[in-house]
Assembly symmetry: C2
Homo-oligomer: 221 residues x 2
Amino acid sequence: MWRLHQFPLCPFSRAVRFAMAEKGVTAELVAAYPWERSETLSRLNPAIQTPVLENGQMVLCDSHAIIEYFDETVERPPLVGASASERAEARRLAGWFAQRFYSEVTAPLLAERMYKRLVSREMPDGIGIRNANRAAELHLQYVDDLLDENRWLAGPTFGIADVHAAAQISVADYLGGIDWRGHGQAKVWYSALKSRPSFRALLADRMEGIRPPPDYDKLDF
Amino acid sequence: MWRLHQFPLCPFSRAVRFAMAEKGVTAELVAAYPWERSETLSRLNPAIQTPVLENGQMVLCDSHAIIEYFDETVERPPLVGASASERAEARRLAGWFAQRFYSEVTAPLLAERMYKRLVSREMPDGIGIRNANRAAELHLQYVDDLLDENRWLAGPTFGIADVHAAAQISVADYLGGIDWRGHGQAKVWYSALKSRPSFRALLADRMEGIRPPPDYDKLDF
Ligand SMILES: N[C@@H](CCC(=O)N[C@@H](CS)C(=O)NCC(=O)O)C(=O)O
Ligand SMILES: N[C@@H](CCC(=O)N[C@@H](CS)C(=O)NCC(=O)O)C(=O)O
Protein backbone atom coordinates (compact mmCIF):
# COMPACT_ATOMS: atom_id res chain seq x y z
CA MET A 1 0.00 0.00 0.00
CA TRP A 2 1.37 3.39 -1.03
CA ARG A 3 1.42 6.16 1.54
CA LEU A 4 1.59 9.76 0.32
CA HIS A 5 3.11 12.23 2.78
CA GLN A 6 1.49 15.56 1.96
CA PHE A 7 -0.63 18.45 3.16
CA PRO A 8 -3.86 19.68 1.54
CA LEU A 9 -2.41 22.90 0.10
CA CYS A 10 0.84 21.47 -1.28
CA PRO A 11 0.45 21.89 -5.06
CA PHE A 12 3.09 19.25 -5.87
CA SER A 13 1.25 16.71 -3.72
CA ARG A 14 -1.96 17.65 -5.52
CA ALA A 15 -0.30 16.95 -8.85
CA VAL A 16 0.74 13.49 -7.61
CA ARG A 17 -2.72 12.75 -6.20
CA PHE A 18 -4.38 13.88 -9.43
CA ALA A 19 -2.07 11.76 -11.61
CA MET A 20 -2.35 8.68 -9.39
CA ALA A 21 -6.15 8.95 -9.37
CA GLU A 22 -6.13 9.16 -13.18
CA LYS A 23 -4.04 5.99 -13.24
CA GLY A 24 -6.37 4.28 -10.76
CA VAL A 25 -3.62 3.83 -8.14
CA THR A 26 -4.67 4.47 -4.55
CA ALA A 27 -2.57 5.83 -1.72
CA GLU A 28 -3.21 6.42 1.93
CA LEU A 29 -2.70 10.08 2.81
CA VAL A 30 -0.32 10.88 5.67
CA ALA A 31 -0.25 14.49 6.87
CA ALA A 32 3.22 16.06 6.69
CA TYR A 33 4.02 19.75 7.12
CA PRO A 34 7.53 20.50 5.81
CA TRP A 35 7.97 23.51 8.13
CA GLU A 36 7.73 21.18 11.14
CA ARG A 37 10.83 19.38 9.81
CA SER A 38 9.67 16.12 11.37
CA GLU A 39 12.07 13.25 11.77
CA THR A 40 9.91 11.08 9.53
CA LEU A 41 9.94 13.55 6.64
CA SER A 42 13.68 14.28 7.01
CA ARG A 43 14.45 10.58 6.97
CA LEU A 44 12.29 9.89 3.92
CA ASN A 45 13.37 12.94 1.92
CA PRO A 46 16.65 14.76 2.54
CA ALA A 47 15.07 17.79 0.82
CA ILE A 48 12.49 17.83 3.68
CA GLN A 49 9.76 18.56 1.17
CA THR A 50 6.38 17.13 0.33
CA PRO A 51 5.31 15.07 -1.56
CA VAL A 52 6.95 11.79 -0.58
CA LEU A 53 5.44 8.50 -1.68
CA GLU A 54 6.52 5.29 0.03
CA ASN A 55 5.37 1.76 0.65
CA GLY A 56 7.82 0.63 3.32
CA GLN A 57 10.32 -0.59 0.70
CA MET A 58 10.54 2.07 -1.92
CA VAL A 59 10.65 5.84 -1.38
CA LEU A 60 9.82 8.23 -4.22
CA CYS A 61 10.35 11.99 -3.94
CA ASP A 62 9.69 14.90 -6.32
CA SER A 63 6.37 15.23 -8.08
CA HIS A 64 7.86 14.94 -11.57
CA ALA A 65 9.83 11.79 -10.72
CA ILE A 66 6.75 10.24 -9.06
CA ILE A 67 4.38 10.97 -11.93
CA GLU A 68 6.87 9.72 -14.54
CA TYR A 69 7.23 6.56 -12.42
CA PHE A 70 3.50 5.84 -12.66
CA ASP A 71 3.46 6.73 -16.32
CA GLU A 72 6.13 4.09 -16.87
CA THR A 73 4.60 1.39 -14.67
CA VAL A 74 0.85 1.85 -15.26
CA GLU A 75 0.01 1.91 -18.91
CA ARG A 76 -3.37 3.65 -19.06
CA PRO A 77 -4.10 6.48 -19.50
CA PRO A 78 -0.75 7.75 -20.81
CA LEU A 79 0.00 11.12 -19.21
CA VAL A 80 3.26 12.30 -20.78
CA GLY A 81 2.17 12.23 -24.43
CA ALA A 82 2.60 10.13 -27.55
CA SER A 83 5.52 11.30 -29.74
CA ALA A 84 8.88 12.47 -28.39
CA SER A 85 8.12 16.07 -29.37
CA GLU A 86 4.70 16.01 -27.67
CA ARG A 87 6.40 14.61 -24.59
CA ALA A 88 8.97 17.42 -24.65
CA GLU A 89 6.20 20.02 -24.85
CA ALA A 90 4.28 18.36 -21.99
CA ARG A 91 7.41 18.33 -19.81
CA ARG A 92 8.25 21.94 -20.67
CA LEU A 93 4.81 23.03 -19.51
CA ALA A 94 4.81 20.81 -16.43
CA GLY A 95 8.06 22.53 -15.50
CA TRP A 96 6.58 25.93 -16.33
CA PHE A 97 3.74 25.51 -13.85
CA ALA A 98 5.77 23.71 -11.20
CA GLN A 99 8.47 26.37 -11.28
CA ARG A 100 7.26 29.70 -12.64
CA PHE A 101 3.63 29.58 -11.57
CA TYR A 102 4.71 28.17 -8.22
CA SER A 103 7.38 30.76 -7.52
CA GLU A 104 5.40 33.75 -8.85
CA VAL A 105 1.90 32.84 -7.64
CA THR A 106 1.43 29.79 -5.40
CA ALA A 107 4.48 30.16 -3.15
CA PRO A 108 3.83 33.84 -2.28
CA LEU A 109 0.13 33.11 -1.65
CA LEU A 110 1.04 30.14 0.56
CA ALA A 111 3.51 32.34 2.44
CA GLU A 112 1.06 35.23 2.96
CA ARG A 113 -2.25 33.43 3.35
CA MET A 114 -1.34 30.06 4.85
CA TYR A 115 2.06 30.20 6.58
CA LYS A 116 1.54 33.60 8.20
CA ARG A 117 -1.93 32.67 9.35
CA LEU A 118 -1.30 29.17 10.63
CA VAL A 119 2.36 29.12 11.59
CA SER A 120 4.11 32.44 12.17
CA ARG A 121 0.88 34.32 13.07
CA GLU A 122 1.85 37.50 11.26
CA MET A 123 -0.30 39.83 9.20
CA PRO A 124 -0.18 39.09 5.45
CA ASP A 125 1.62 41.58 3.25
CA GLY A 126 -0.82 43.23 0.84
CA ILE A 127 1.84 44.00 -1.75
CA GLY A 128 3.00 40.39 -1.88
CA ILE A 129 -0.58 39.26 -2.44
CA ARG A 130 -1.21 41.87 -5.10
CA ASN A 131 1.92 40.87 -7.03
CA ALA A 132 0.90 37.21 -6.89
CA ASN A 133 -2.56 38.06 -8.17
CA ARG A 134 -1.08 40.07 -11.00
CA ALA A 135 1.26 37.21 -11.93
CA ALA A 136 -1.71 34.79 -11.84
CA GLU A 137 -3.46 37.02 -14.35
CA LEU A 138 -0.54 36.70 -16.82
CA HIS A 139 -0.43 32.94 -16.35
CA LEU A 140 -4.16 32.62 -17.07
CA GLN A 141 -3.56 34.64 -20.21
CA TYR A 142 -0.88 32.13 -21.17
CA VAL A 143 -3.32 29.28 -20.54
CA ASP A 144 -5.81 31.00 -22.87
CA ASP A 145 -3.09 31.28 -25.52
CA LEU A 146 -2.13 27.63 -25.21
CA LEU A 147 -5.78 26.64 -25.59
CA ASP A 148 -6.00 28.64 -28.83
CA GLU A 149 -3.68 26.02 -30.28
CA ASN A 150 -4.74 22.83 -28.57
CA ARG A 151 -7.62 21.07 -26.85
CA TRP A 152 -5.44 20.47 -23.76
CA LEU A 153 -2.46 22.53 -22.64
CA ALA A 154 0.28 20.53 -24.36
CA GLY A 155 -1.60 18.91 -27.23
CA PRO A 156 -4.63 16.90 -28.20
CA THR A 157 -4.74 14.78 -25.05
CA PHE A 158 -4.94 15.40 -21.33
CA GLY A 159 -1.63 14.93 -19.51
CA ILE A 160 1.05 16.17 -17.11
CA ALA A 161 0.87 19.79 -18.30
CA ASP A 162 -2.83 19.87 -17.32
CA VAL A 163 -2.11 18.00 -14.09
CA HIS A 164 0.61 20.39 -12.92
CA ALA A 165 -1.27 23.49 -14.08
CA ALA A 166 -4.49 22.43 -12.37
CA ALA A 167 -2.64 21.52 -9.17
CA GLN A 168 -1.02 24.96 -8.93
CA ILE A 169 -4.11 26.88 -10.02
CA SER A 170 -6.34 25.02 -7.56
CA VAL A 171 -4.15 26.03 -4.62
CA ALA A 172 -4.02 29.64 -5.81
CA ASP A 173 -7.81 29.52 -6.22
CA TYR A 174 -8.24 28.12 -2.70
CA LEU A 175 -6.25 31.10 -1.44
CA GLY A 176 -8.32 33.65 -3.36
CA GLY A 177 -5.71 34.37 -6.03
CA ILE A 178 -7.64 33.46 -9.18
CA ASP A 179 -9.99 35.76 -11.05
CA TRP A 180 -11.50 33.98 -14.05
CA ARG A 181 -13.04 37.08 -15.61
CA GLY A 182 -11.72 37.66 -19.11
CA HIS A 183 -10.32 34.11 -19.32
CA GLY A 184 -13.13 32.25 -21.01
CA GLN A 185 -10.93 29.59 -22.55
CA ALA A 186 -9.04 28.87 -19.36
CA LYS A 187 -12.36 28.68 -17.54
CA VAL A 188 -13.82 26.12 -19.95
CA TRP A 189 -10.65 24.03 -19.58
CA TYR A 190 -10.70 24.25 -15.77
CA SER A 191 -14.40 23.45 -15.73
CA ALA A 192 -13.69 20.24 -17.69
CA LEU A 193 -11.05 19.34 -15.11
CA LYS A 194 -13.45 20.04 -12.24
CA SER A 195 -15.85 17.47 -13.61
CA ARG A 196 -13.22 14.69 -13.50
CA PRO A 197 -13.73 12.51 -10.39
CA SER A 198 -9.94 12.30 -9.96
CA PHE A 199 -9.74 16.08 -9.52
CA ARG A 200 -12.99 16.46 -7.58
CA ALA A 201 -11.59 14.34 -4.77
CA LEU A 202 -8.78 16.86 -4.36
CA LEU A 203 -11.12 19.81 -4.32
CA ALA A 204 -13.11 18.23 -1.49
CA ASP A 205 -10.06 18.45 0.77
CA ARG A 206 -9.72 21.27 3.29
CA MET A 207 -6.75 22.80 5.08
CA GLU A 208 -7.72 23.22 8.71
CA GLY A 209 -8.09 26.89 9.62
CA ILE A 210 -8.43 28.21 6.06
CA ARG A 211 -11.64 28.27 4.10
CA PRO A 212 -11.67 28.54 0.28
CA PRO A 213 -13.98 30.98 -1.57
CA PRO A 214 -17.55 29.69 -2.14
CA ASP A 215 -17.06 28.85 -5.85
CA TYR A 216 -13.81 26.98 -5.29
CA ASP A 217 -15.24 23.48 -5.73
CA LYS A 218 -18.39 24.39 -7.69
CA LEU A 219 -18.70 22.97 -11.16
CA ASP A 220 -20.44 26.18 -12.08
CA PHE A 221 -18.18 29.12 -11.19
CA MET B 1 21.17 21.10 -37.63
CA TRP B 2 20.34 21.84 -34.01
CA ARG B 3 21.12 25.27 -32.63
CA LEU B 4 21.49 25.66 -28.88
CA HIS B 5 20.77 29.15 -27.54
CA GLN B 6 22.88 29.45 -24.40
CA PHE B 7 25.63 31.31 -22.59
CA PRO B 8 28.81 29.74 -21.18
CA LEU B 9 27.84 30.03 -17.50
CA CYS B 10 24.22 28.83 -17.79
CA PRO B 11 24.22 25.53 -15.84
CA PHE B 12 21.07 24.23 -17.54
CA SER B 13 22.64 24.80 -20.95
CA ARG B 14 25.73 22.97 -19.73
CA ALA B 15 23.57 20.01 -18.72
CA VAL B 16 22.06 19.90 -22.20
CA ARG B 17 25.46 20.22 -23.90
CA PHE B 18 26.91 17.47 -21.71
CA ALA B 19 24.00 15.10 -22.38
CA MET B 20 23.96 15.79 -26.11
CA ALA B 21 27.71 15.20 -26.35
CA GLU B 22 27.29 11.88 -24.51
CA LYS B 23 24.64 10.92 -27.07
CA GLY B 24 26.88 12.02 -29.93
CA VAL B 25 24.45 14.70 -31.16
CA THR B 26 26.03 17.97 -32.28
CA ALA B 27 24.57 21.45 -32.00
CA GLU B 28 25.74 24.83 -33.12
CA LEU B 29 26.03 27.20 -30.17
CA VAL B 30 24.23 30.54 -30.40
CA ALA B 31 24.97 33.08 -27.67
CA ALA B 32 21.85 34.21 -25.79
CA TYR B 33 21.81 36.25 -22.57
CA PRO B 34 18.38 36.04 -20.91
CA TRP B 35 18.80 39.42 -19.19
CA GLU B 36 18.97 41.12 -22.59
CA ARG B 37 15.45 39.80 -23.27
CA SER B 38 16.15 39.67 -26.98
CA GLU B 39 13.31 39.31 -29.43
CA THR B 40 14.73 36.01 -30.65
CA LEU B 41 14.82 34.44 -27.20
CA SER B 42 11.35 35.74 -26.26
CA ARG B 43 9.89 34.35 -29.45
CA LEU B 44 11.52 30.95 -29.01
CA ASN B 45 10.81 30.59 -25.29
CA PRO B 46 8.03 32.51 -23.54
CA ALA B 47 9.93 31.90 -20.29
CA ILE B 48 12.79 34.00 -21.79
CA GLN B 49 15.29 31.53 -20.38
CA THR B 50 18.20 29.56 -21.71
CA PRO B 51 18.64 26.82 -22.88
CA VAL B 52 16.53 26.68 -26.02
CA LEU B 53 17.27 24.10 -28.68
CA GLU B 54 15.80 24.51 -32.13
CA ASN B 55 16.34 23.42 -35.71
CA GLY B 56 14.07 25.80 -37.58
CA GLN B 57 11.09 23.47 -37.25
CA MET B 58 11.04 22.22 -33.71
CA VAL B 59 11.72 24.26 -30.57
CA LEU B 60 12.62 22.54 -27.30
CA CYS B 61 12.86 24.38 -23.97
CA ASP B 62 13.75 23.32 -20.43
CA SER B 63 16.85 21.24 -19.78
CA HIS B 64 14.92 18.28 -18.36
CA ALA B 65 12.52 18.16 -21.30
CA ILE B 66 15.41 18.44 -23.77
CA ILE B 67 17.51 15.72 -22.17
CA GLU B 68 14.55 13.33 -21.88
CA TYR B 69 13.86 14.04 -25.56
CA PHE B 70 17.31 12.83 -26.55
CA ASP B 71 17.09 9.89 -24.20
CA GLU B 72 13.92 8.83 -26.01
CA THR B 73 15.16 9.42 -29.53
CA VAL B 74 18.84 8.37 -29.32
CA GLU B 75 19.27 4.97 -27.79
CA ARG B 76 22.85 4.91 -26.60
CA PRO B 77 24.05 5.52 -23.94
CA PRO B 78 20.85 5.50 -21.85
CA LEU B 79 20.95 8.44 -19.44
CA VAL B 80 17.82 8.12 -17.32
CA GLY B 81 18.40 4.63 -15.89
CA ALA B 82 17.22 1.08 -16.41
CA SER B 83 14.34 0.14 -14.05
CA ALA B 84 11.44 2.45 -13.20
CA SER B 85 12.75 2.90 -9.65
CA GLU B 86 16.27 3.74 -10.85
CA ARG B 87 14.72 6.26 -13.22
CA ALA B 88 12.74 7.83 -10.37
CA GLU B 89 15.90 8.18 -8.31
CA ALA B 90 17.80 9.69 -11.24
CA ARG B 91 15.00 12.21 -11.83
CA ARG B 92 14.77 13.06 -8.14
CA LEU B 93 18.47 13.91 -8.08
CA ALA B 94 18.41 15.76 -11.40
CA GLY B 95 15.67 17.90 -9.83
CA TRP B 96 17.68 18.27 -6.62
CA PHE B 97 20.66 19.77 -8.43
CA ALA B 98 18.65 21.79 -10.94
CA GLN B 99 16.51 23.31 -8.19
CA ARG B 100 18.16 23.22 -4.77
CA PHE B 101 21.80 23.45 -5.78
CA TYR B 102 20.89 26.07 -8.35
CA SER B 103 18.85 28.25 -6.00
CA GLU B 104 21.20 27.89 -3.02
CA VAL B 105 24.58 27.95 -4.77
CA THR B 106 24.72 28.62 -8.51
CA ALA B 107 22.08 31.36 -8.78
CA PRO B 108 23.51 33.52 -5.96
CA LEU B 109 27.05 33.07 -7.32
CA LEU B 110 25.89 34.04 -10.81
CA ALA B 111 24.12 37.08 -9.35
CA GLU B 112 27.11 38.24 -7.30
CA ARG B 113 30.02 37.24 -9.47
CA MET B 114 28.68 37.38 -13.02
CA TYR B 115 25.62 39.62 -13.23
CA LYS B 116 26.96 42.34 -10.95
CA ARG B 117 30.31 42.35 -12.69
CA LEU B 118 29.18 42.20 -16.30
CA VAL B 119 25.72 43.73 -16.33
CA SER B 120 24.73 45.91 -13.39
CA ARG B 121 28.32 46.87 -12.48
CA GLU B 122 27.77 46.73 -8.73
CA MET B 123 30.04 45.42 -6.02
CA PRO B 124 29.36 41.79 -5.08
CA ASP B 125 27.79 41.16 -1.69
CA GLY B 126 30.19 39.22 0.53
CA ILE B 127 27.44 37.71 2.67
CA GLY B 128 25.60 36.36 -0.34
CA ILE B 129 28.81 34.74 -1.56
CA ARG B 130 29.61 33.30 1.84
CA ASN B 131 26.14 31.76 2.15
CA ALA B 132 26.45 30.21 -1.29
CA ASN B 133 29.86 28.75 -0.40
CA ARG B 134 28.45 27.30 2.79
CA ALA B 135 25.52 25.77 0.91
CA ALA B 136 27.96 24.30 -1.64
CA GLU B 137 29.79 22.62 1.23
CA LEU B 138 26.59 20.84 2.34
CA HIS B 139 25.84 19.76 -1.20
CA LEU B 140 29.32 18.29 -1.63
CA GLN B 141 28.74 16.40 1.61
CA TYR B 142 25.54 15.03 0.10
CA VAL B 143 27.46 13.98 -3.03
CA ASP B 144 29.93 12.12 -0.78
CA ASP B 145 27.00 10.37 0.94
CA LEU B 146 25.42 9.34 -2.34
CA LEU B 147 28.75 7.92 -3.51
CA ASP B 148 28.94 5.79 -0.36
CA GLU B 149 26.02 3.85 -1.81
CA ASN B 150 26.67 3.89 -5.52
CA ARG B 151 29.33 4.20 -8.18
CA TRP B 152 27.47 7.13 -9.77
CA LEU B 153 25.09 9.52 -8.05
CA ALA B 154 21.84 7.69 -8.76
CA GLY B 155 23.02 4.09 -9.18
CA PRO B 156 25.49 1.84 -10.96
CA THR B 157 25.56 3.80 -14.21
CA PHE B 158 26.32 7.34 -15.29
CA GLY B 159 23.22 9.40 -16.07
CA ILE B 160 21.13 12.54 -15.68
CA ALA B 161 21.85 12.92 -11.96
CA ASP B 162 25.56 13.14 -12.76
CA VAL B 163 24.92 15.40 -15.74
CA HIS B 164 22.85 17.93 -13.76
CA ALA B 165 25.13 17.79 -10.73
CA ALA B 166 28.28 18.28 -12.81
CA ALA B 167 26.68 21.12 -14.77
CA GLN B 168 25.78 23.05 -11.60
CA ILE B 169 29.03 22.27 -9.79
CA SER B 170 31.15 23.28 -12.77
CA VAL B 171 29.55 26.73 -12.87
CA ALA B 172 29.96 27.17 -9.11
CA ASP B 173 33.59 26.04 -9.52
CA TYR B 174 34.16 28.53 -12.35
CA LEU B 175 32.93 31.26 -9.97
CA GLY B 176 35.20 30.17 -7.13
CA GLY B 177 32.47 28.58 -5.00
CA ILE B 178 33.81 25.01 -4.71
CA ASP B 179 36.32 23.83 -2.11
CA TRP B 180 37.10 20.14 -2.60
CA ARG B 181 39.02 19.72 0.66
CA GLY B 182 37.39 17.08 2.83
CA HIS B 183 35.34 15.69 -0.07
CA GLY B 184 37.52 12.91 -1.35
CA GLN B 185 34.69 10.87 -2.81
CA ALA B 186 33.09 13.79 -4.58
CA LYS B 187 36.50 14.72 -5.94
CA VAL B 188 37.16 11.26 -7.37
CA TRP B 189 33.72 11.32 -9.01
CA TYR B 190 34.30 14.82 -10.46
CA SER B 191 37.71 13.84 -11.65
CA ALA B 192 36.19 10.91 -13.57
CA LEU B 193 33.78 13.37 -15.18
CA LYS B 194 36.57 15.75 -16.07
CA SER B 195 38.26 13.03 -18.06
CA ARG B 196 35.19 12.50 -20.28
CA PRO B 197 35.64 14.30 -23.64
CA SER B 198 31.95 15.32 -23.54
CA PHE B 199 32.54 17.29 -20.34
CA ARG B 200 36.02 18.56 -21.22
CA ALA B 201 34.58 20.47 -24.18
CA LEU B 202 32.37 22.38 -21.75
CA LEU B 203 35.21 23.20 -19.42
CA ALA B 204 37.19 24.70 -22.28
CA ASP B 205 34.52 27.38 -22.68
CA ARG B 206 35.04 30.85 -21.21
CA MET B 207 32.63 33.62 -20.26
CA GLU B 208 34.08 36.85 -21.56
CA GLY B 209 35.26 39.09 -18.71
CA ILE B 210 35.40 36.37 -16.05
CA ARG B 211 38.31 34.04 -15.53
CA PRO B 212 37.96 30.73 -13.66
CA PRO B 213 40.44 29.64 -10.96
CA PRO B 214 43.59 27.91 -12.29
CA ASP B 215 42.50 24.36 -11.36
CA TYR B 216 39.06 24.72 -12.89
CA ASP B 217 39.73 22.64 -15.99
CA LYS B 218 42.75 20.67 -14.73
CA LEU B 219 42.39 16.92 -14.54
CA ASP B 220 44.57 17.06 -11.47
CA PHE B 221 43.03 19.50 -9.00
N1 LIG C 1 10.50 19.62 -6.75
C1 LIG C 1 9.58 19.25 -5.69
C2 LIG C 1 9.12 20.49 -4.94
C3 LIG C 1 8.30 20.18 -3.71
C4 LIG C 1 8.09 21.39 -2.83
O1 LIG C 1 8.62 22.49 -3.08
N2 LIG C 1 7.25 21.21 -1.77
C5 LIG C 1 6.99 22.29 -0.83
C6 LIG C 1 5.58 22.19 -0.24
S1 LIG C 1 4.37 22.70 -1.39
C7 LIG C 1 7.92 22.12 0.36
O2 LIG C 1 8.06 21.04 0.88
N3 LIG C 1 8.57 23.23 0.79
C8 LIG C 1 9.42 23.24 1.92
C9 LIG C 1 10.86 23.51 1.56
O3 LIG C 1 11.17 23.58 0.35
O4 LIG C 1 11.67 23.65 2.46
C10 LIG C 1 8.43 18.48 -6.29
O5 LIG C 1 8.16 18.66 -7.49
O6 LIG C 1 7.84 17.64 -5.61
N1 LIG D 1 13.81 25.02 -15.90
C1 LIG D 1 14.75 25.63 -16.80
C2 LIG D 1 15.55 26.69 -16.07
C3 LIG D 1 16.41 27.52 -16.99
C4 LIG D 1 16.98 28.78 -16.31
O1 LIG D 1 16.64 29.10 -15.15
N2 LIG D 1 17.88 29.49 -17.02
C5 LIG D 1 18.44 30.72 -16.50
C6 LIG D 1 19.85 30.93 -17.00
S1 LIG D 1 20.99 29.86 -16.20
C7 LIG D 1 17.66 31.90 -17.05
O2 LIG D 1 17.37 31.94 -18.23
N3 LIG D 1 17.30 32.83 -16.17
C8 LIG D 1 16.59 34.03 -16.53
C9 LIG D 1 15.19 34.06 -15.96
O3 LIG D 1 14.75 33.07 -15.33
O4 LIG D 1 14.52 35.09 -16.13
C10 LIG D 1 15.66 24.55 -17.38
O5 LIG D 1 15.81 23.50 -16.72
O6 LIG D 1 16.14 24.71 -18.49
